[in-house]
Symmetry: C2
């Protein structure tokens, strides 16, 4: 039987947000590869070898997956959320681009998942109802100046902004700097949402304003959504507010 | 039994891309509401009333859904892709914001889906592997000048750009104008993908360059992805190329 490689998204956490396509691929795979907490989300079964690795080792993980598929194994690499969004898909294609030329003919598929951004948005309403962007706030792989430039242009464009990887122990100051920059570009009343561990037992979602947003609220499992000047709150007597961005944002920021 | 309203994403087309969460909600609903082609994707069953409407009637559809939920019905509004992305979720919250104050206390949930953008990206590789944005090219609800401004700023920011609603009979020239504008901002060799009807029987995906992209290739079911200056092709002797954007885009456009 010839090998294949599937790069699959497990969604934000809840099993009911894993697509049947991914469930089927997991059932057929011989080898499961990923960052330990994501591999732990997949049930063990006979015939499925598990290869766990640390967070920073995307490159080695991608090369292992490609080598195993080339040997005829049925390999699934798992990411949280969608694998194409700041996750393993790009790492695998980088490895293909720079690696053994025969890897280009492997059967490689990307299986989309529910991204953190859309799962978080769904929990609070429809904050991404108008044009939006996603920025990885990690400066491990790009210069901080480029991130600042993108934040500024995104705010000037009137995009709602989803910030991935906002804060970690190794990157403690980046989100604070980003919020300070955005306060110069956007009204201070713009809604900001911190959405952590969406759809699993530790889920915590806080809606505040750009003025009151505190960077330290975030951690590695938090997605931060910054509204545009058009984003609105709907107060609810019996619960937390709905947040949405109208489809018709006629006013330039 | 008290009513509820779920605004659900059916994903791009294939049943195996519908989340179990959405499948469960469809099984419990009493009323199914949506644009006719999306309602047609849900199997008929006894006890589920179907309310179909035309594409342009989002506002009436949202108000009908809210009225029925307020009457104690279990209502599901379906969108293609993700309901929070240029789809029904924002329309419903607009209706809540402007409608009967009692609607604010309804049990309203958004159930995320696999968006057209991520489904299309998955089919060709990892074009969204770096920072990206999504722009609705329809000028029905925002001035064309704002769309041009956003395209220009997005290109200057180095975002990969996903264009929703690129072309329709009522909006025949917008995508051509957008491509002409982007040719002034980006290298002409930037990869461009036209992804139509992803994951269903009529799926058609073409990868070209910004120089050679022809607007008329698109229709209402097409998502257009515009690469950044960093987006790369991996040629494959045996098939269409992989398209990806490396995680480390150190160079400002």
């Amino acid at each position: 039987m010839s090998g294949w490689l599937a790069i699959a998204g497990l969604g934000p956490g809840a099993p009911e947000l894993v697509t049947p396509e991914v469930t089927q691929a997991l059932a057929q795979a011989t080898d499961l590869i990923g960052y330990a907490p994501y591999v732990a989300r997949v049930s063990e079964r006979v015939g499925l070898s598990r290869h766990v690795s640390d967070n920073r080792e995307e490159r080695d993980r991608a090369r292992l997956a490609l080598r195993l598929a080339a040997e005829g194994r049925r390999v699934i690499v798992v990411s949280s959320g969608d694998p194409g969004v700041f996750a393993m898909a790009a790492a695998v294609f980088e490895a293909v681009d720079c690696g053994d030329p025969s890897w280009r003919n492997l059967d490689i598929k990307v299986l989309p998942g529910i991204s953190a951004m859309f799962a978080a948005a769904a929990r609070i309403g429809a904050p991404l109802g108008h044009d939006f962007c996603a920025i990885n706030l990690s400066d491990n792989l790009k210069p901080w100046e480029l991130i600042e430039r993108r934040l500024r242009l995104a705010a000037q464009a009137g995009f709602v902004i989803a910030l991935y990887n906002p804060l970690s122990k190794a990157r403690p100051w980046q989100l604070g700097r980003a919020l300070a920059l955005l306060r110069k570009e956007l009204p201070e009343v713009v809604p900001v949402a911190f959405a952590s561990a969406v759809s699993d037992a530790k889920e915590a979602i806080d809606v505040t304003t750009l003025r009151d947003a505190v960077a330290e609220r975030a951690d590695m499992r938090t997605l931060v959504l910054i509204g545009s000047s058009q984003t609105r709150l709907i107060a609810r007597p019996d619960g937390s507010p709905f947040v949405y961005t109208p489809r018709s944002a006629g006013v330039s920021p």
